[in-house]
Symmetry: C2
Amino acid sequence: MTRITRRFLHARGLTQVGFLSATLLVGSLSAAGAQIADALPSWNDGASKRAIMEFVTRVTRQGGPDFVKPAERIATFDNDGTLWAEQPLYFQVLFALDRIKALAPQHPEWKDTEPFASLLRGDVKGALAGEHAAAQIIMATHSGMTTEEFETIVKDWLATARHPSTGRPYTEMVYQPMLELLAYLRANGFKTFIVSGGGVEFMRGFAETVYDIPPEQVIGSAGKQKFEMRTGKPALVKLPAVDFVDDKEGKPIAIQKIIGRRPIAAFGNSDGDLQMLQWTCEAEGRRFCLLVHHTDADREWAYDRASTIGRLDKGLDEAKSEGWTVVNIKSDWRQVFLPEKK
Amino acid sequence: MTRITRRFLHARGLTQVGFLSATLLVGSLSAAGAQIADALPSWNDGASKRAIMEFVTRVTRQGGPDFVKPAERIATFDNDGTLWAEQPLYFQVLFALDRIKALAPQHPEWKDTEPFASLLRGDVKGALAGEHAAAQIIMATHSGMTTEEFETIVKDWLATARHPSTGRPYTEMVYQPMLELLAYLRANGFKTFIVSGGGVEFMRGFAETVYDIPPEQVIGSAGKQKFEMRTGKPALVKLPAVDFVDDKEGKPIAIQKIIGRRPIAAFGNSDGDLQMLQWTCEAEGRRFCLLVHHTDADREWAYDRASTIGRLDKGLDEAKSEGWTVVNIKSDWRQVFLPEKK
């Protein structure tokens, strides 16, 4: 039983039913798909949930006018702010800041070099103020090692790091309603992809265990790599140079380059997702586009048009004019995160 | 029933058994997997076939020392010279030459510009002699249109064009033993990818119907693209600039970028595949690497160390030292192509 299945069952109060019946339930869920009355228990009944379920019902109804073959049921999801939280800073930036601290003993020159000097003095805001500061921090922490070494670094960090406001592991800062949505779409024959501005190799460090999304269905920003022999074995070494930025126009371009098929459903939360939603929904045939609107300062964070992180401005306007679904976290989501494990 | 399934059944003399029993047979094949005595009927019994089947049996034997989880059963295939033929020129070059002729009326300036002038006079060899000639021809024929327009152009060409020596559609110039191998691996839980120097959008024009490989499992060389609004609708326009060359060191890099997981089996035929095979097989765990050696001038073409197309030189040496399987087409393949349809 995968982690996401456990979460799913947990959310439905089903963790006590035992492994066998849980497995059977998931089996019948997969088979029955849209027929299940509540595959989205963390969603309140309302327009957003109804729109999702109506879309899925229509594109999966064999012989119906909107039927889409399973091979063409491509759904793309942004990650930061859509599948997991992104405040007070993108989690990958928090990872990079932790790495700077961990690597500092090997870089005595950082004491006198910005943005590292400010960071090491604890002045995150000052450090990130410089024009190229974020890029310098990412380069310093995301290159120089092999892809396999980087994978280990990411997994070790995820296993021990805690979110600065909630104290929870980052992998528990994922939106339970969106986990249910991913599972619901897959149970209905969809292939779910992440298409995020985040680093592809960073996201692969948790996408399979947390979202049930295998590495080949994770698309993101990437640095250049070099193939070389290291002690007689082939290795891929991460270089300090940007290869591709998977944001804004980059998202539909990456979708075409890597998936090669236009999605029929796309999910995002910021203006960085706008072009992905346009590419998905401004086309022939039944389509579904959704933006998560962060409106809940109590259970999560509230931000939109004025935020530097996850700004949602043009997207809100375009959602209105195009009829895209806008999730109001406060009213649409019965729960945001799973309760902490005791 | 997909085309590849029909071909597979045809090769086993099963086209007369009717649709229902054929479907049932395929169903039980998928279920039984490695237990089927001859899933590779176009392969002669010999060391190559035995090596393939032994590898698959080992990595799929639950509880065995070499067992690999289905999610990690990644197999990558070169295309030109591995899945379909590549003589007398790469088929994509032949496509480009046909397109130059078709586009010439819109380009009166080509009459006085190389390499187009030579081409239009029928001097292919002269045209391709210039240092940048091939790149110029590819740019002129692979850019300026949207990705969807290009898809239509490729599919229209494949539907009507004929191979210059055999007179057959290019999609019939695929190696029947390799189609069986793809199906055999998939029946055993493998996910099969193309990783080829060919253009990714060209290959997607036939990979799904001919190989049963969906667009998101096709990796290849690519040009840059631009996202723009065309008559109010979002479009991706192909630009005359190279984005990525998926050859040699590019192959493991593309595998890591796009698949994000090291293959456990890789199949190629030229020195352009060498690094992909090194990346796959020079690693821990049970691995399988195979090179197709073109040795059969009667049924196909014979070429290796001295060929400008599909040169296999270093690869032959490394296969020997590393113990990779080298397919001798002449002796290993019972049939190369399916007989022509009457």
